[in-house]
């Protein structure tokens, strides 16, 4: 019954949606591609399309990228377009911003967003605020990209999620893709966008393969920034997430479906500007909301979603308080057992959904 409803509602997306229930399954017209390769392809295509696009960062050229995301690009495009920098984030982020101001379209890679803290002044004060401060005279078409959030066993200084920090600032666009299509389509949009974009990838997702539809394989495939995606429709509860945890939510939803609980899983895709309308439409249908993220709870993405829902039309449709599932409010520990218990697990999502539904 749910399948039929879904097919009628979402039209041409129906097939994709059903396939994605057992997600990662290959279909005839599509191929499997890892997130890493999708990002690589996006950059390759944009470098080819526009001479003004170039990539700079640590180990991006001769080493093929610290996480091999820029593999093969230096060989193809050479020193001018793919630039290895010294380990000096504040300096090269500033250089990227300056280059963008003078007409180039730099992609500035941070080996992880933890290191962006060394350069955050350039991202916020020099990039994000400039178009406003100049009253529209000076655009800054720069993309800052790199892995964000927890990895595995890399401890406190290398595991922080910066979605909330960057999402806080007007003038910045902040993107957090989940799968390969997200990665490719959104990175291409980010590079084509005339504004500073912070592109938060996830190291643990780099090696994960997903099916890429025929449409996604095209050189002009872009996904609009600022639009969330309903990955899985459902009637009972809205579950909103971004990046790696979208996968966790889908797995939780599959388990809950066996008990007759149908979750509507929303992949935010963009943190800022956030697609509140999609969330509101969903909550007005399901009457329940759980947000899921890897970052810390205080002043986080989930906190913002809850606040926006309360201030908008969807509040009156809530049958229970909205709930956030987040990382534990501590620096990331190293020991495996502690680390595993510092981030949301599928059982935490299931528990929170059931508690919210009072079942």
């Amino acid at each position: 019954m749910a399948l039929l409803r879904c097919a009628l509602r979402s039209g041409k997306d129906a097939v994709g949606a059903i396939l994605r229930r057992e997600f990662h399954k290959t279909s005839a017209a599509s191929l499997q591609m890892t997130v890493r390769d999708a990002l690589n392809q996006a950059m390759d295509e944009e470098l080819e399309r526009d001479e003004l696009v170039f990539l700079l960062g640590e180990e991006v050229a001769q080493y093929d990228g610290a996480y091999k995301v820029s593999r093969g690009l230096w060989k193809k495009y050479g020193d001018k377009r793919i630039v290895d920098t010294p380990i000096t984030e504040m300096g090269f982020a500033g250089i990227a911003v300056g280059a963008a101001m003078a007409g180039l379209r730099p992609i500035c890679e941070f080996m992880t967003f933890n290191f962006s803290m060394q350069a955050i002044d350039q991202v916020i004060n020099s990039a994000a605020k400039t178009y406003y401060m100049s009253a529209g005279l000076q655009p800054v078409p720069v993309v800052f990209r790199g892995p964000n959030g927890a990895s595995a066993g890399v401890a406190a200084q290398h595991s922080q999620c910066f979605a909330a920090w960057y999402g806080h600032c007007p003038g910045l666009k902040v993107i957090s893709p989940w799968n390969s299509e997200d990665a490719k389509g959104l990175l291409k949009s980010a590079i084509r966008d005339d504004n500073p974009v912070v592109f938060l990838e996830n190291e643990l997702m780099y090696g994960v393969p997903f099916e890429m539809s025929e449409e996604a394989q095209s050189k002009d495939f872009t996904i609009p920034i600022g639009k969330a995606k309903v990955e899985r429709p459902g009637d009972h509860i809205t579950v909103v997430s971004h990046s790696r945890y979208v996968g966790h939510c889908l797995e939780a939803a599959a388990i809950l479906a066996k008990e007759g609980i149908e979750c509507e899983v929303i992949n935010l895709r963009t943190i800022r500007p956030m697609d509140v309308e999609t969330i509101e439409t969903s909550v007005m249908k399901t009457n329940h909301l759980v947000t899921v993220e890897g970052g810390w709870p205080q002043f986080g993405v989930g906190a913002e979603i809850c606040a926006m829902i309360m201030e908008g039309p969807a509040f009156n449709y809530l049958d229970a308080p909205a709930v956030r599932v987040t990382g534990v409010d501590i620096p990331m520990p190293y020991a495996k057992i502690l680390e595993d218990n510092s981030v949301p697990q599928i059982k935490d999502i299931i528990f929170s959904v059931k508690k919210t539904l009072n079942v």
């Binding site: 001769q62 010294p86 290191f115 200084q157 520990p333 020991a335 495996k336 510092s342």
Partner: protein, 400 residues
């Protein structure tokens, strides 16, 4: 085993005091020399490489005196450090150590030489290639290895991992490139402020040497005459990038500009020691900071995720191993000056190996930290507080 050897050698010493005959204990796996320890040279003077100088009239002496005792102690520590890192390599490949693991083998002479040139009451801070310094600054192999494997017996109770180990007067273990340098100057400020005759050794690599915060630190340390020895461990590569591709000037000992500097052979523990003593004297005399560049080499790649051969040749690595290995260098010096013999050194090797095996055994069998510890150590000297778990229904406890 050791007790037996001592008894045997005592007996033999008594009976063969003057004639130096060899006696081989039948069936024993270790050859016991009957040579009296009194026959070994108690100390010798060695010519060491001179240092390139920057804004200094004179440098450290080009001779170093090494006593037998010192030599054996350095040898033991160098060997312990080497074996510990190799054991970590093994455990990492077995996935018992996870995350980042930056190994120090090849660079041992730096850590050992520096420690030999300063006092235990002095302070030291370095970046993430820190296992060797954790050892020289008082950590035991057991607690270092258990930290690498993330167990409760680890030096940071399993919460820090490879890059975040601390001991008294050792401020880690720091993951963010260059950030430890202002920290080190801050430690030096505290020493001067409190009138203690202590200094801080602040280490960073050739990759970090281009960081802006380091130049900011040079400026303030110099202005305020902080007792800080800046040390650049130049191992020729910042991750996968050779020094020529990262630095407009690779004369790292001159990069302090107004700060006097010296460039030292970092593969020779005696060179490092003498240079450190020289630098320490400079600081303690109230002359302000000084900069040392140690030319050294790492055998492993940047970390265990880096094979280390895409940006340098295996021949280069082999050449350093065969011509400049710090342990071999010390060994040859001591042997050719009759300060020890092969058997004695082998004895030390056996002891070191055993200690490493014991430590690895502990590190792999000690239990992981208890979940009750998850939220502890958020604040110092503070009330217990409640910490939010992954959802609102989990309330966790945190104590100082």
């Amino acid at each position: 085993m050791r007790k037996m050897l001592t008894i045997i050698s005592n007996v033999l010493r008594a009976s063969t005091k003057k004639n130096g005959a060899q006696a081989v204990s039948e069936g024993a796996r270790v050859v016991v020399s009957s040579r009296s320890y009194a026959d070994f040279t108690p100390q010798a003077s060695f010519d060491i490489k001179g240092c390139d100088l920057h804004r200094l009239e004179e440098g450290p002496a080009q001779q170093a005196v090494l006593t037998r005792e010192e030599g054996l102690q350095y040898y033991r520590t160098l060997q312990m450090m080497r074996r510990m890192e190799l054991k970590a390599d093994q455990l990492y490949k077995q996935k018992i150590i996870r995350g980042f693991c930056h190994l120090y083998d090849g660079q041992e002479a730096c850590a050992v030489g520096i420690e030999a040139g300063i006092n235990p009451t002095d302070h030291l801070i370095t970046a993430y290639r820190a296992h060797g310094y954790t050892l020289t600054r008082g950590g035991t192999v057991r607690e270092i290895m258990a930290e690498l494997t993330g167990r409760r017996g680890g030096i940071a109770k399993g919460k820090g991992g490879s890059m975040h180990m601390y001991t008294k007067n050792f401020y880690g273990g720091n993951g963010i490139v260059g950030a430890q340098v202002p920290l080190g100057a801050g430690v030096a400020l505290a020493c001067k402020y409190q009138g203690r005759n202590e200094l801080c050794v602040t280490l960073y690599g050739d990759g970090a040497a281009n960081q802006g915060q380091i130049f900011e630190t040079y400026n303030m340390a110099s202005l305020w005459k902080l007792p800080c020895i800046f040390i650049c461990e130049n191992n020729k590569y910042g991750m996968g990038t050779s020094v020529e591709r990262a630095a407009a000037s690779t004369d790292y000992y001159k990069r302090g500009d107004f700060i006097p500097g010296l460039r030292v052979d970092g593969m020779d523990v005696l060179c490092v020691r003498e240079a450190t003593k020289f630098a320490a004297d400079h600081c303690r005399a109230g002359k302000g900071p000084i900069l040392m560049e140690l030319q050294t080499y790492r055998y492993h790649g940047h970390s265990m995720s880096d094979p280390g051969v895409s940006y340098r040749t295996r021949e280069e690595i082999q050449e350093v191993r065969s011509k400049s290995d710090p342990i071999s260098m010390l060994k040859e010096r001591m042997l050719s000056n009759n300060m020890t013999n092969v058997e004695e050194l082998k004895e030390i090797d056996v002891e070191v190996r055993k200690e490493i095996e014991d430590a690895a055994q502990f590190a792999t069998t000690d239990p992981e930290p208890p979940l009750e510890e998850l939220c502890n150590h958020l604040f110092s000297n503070d009330q217990p507080l409640e910490v939010r778990g992954t959802h609102p229904w989990t309330k966790l406890k945190s104590v100082s």
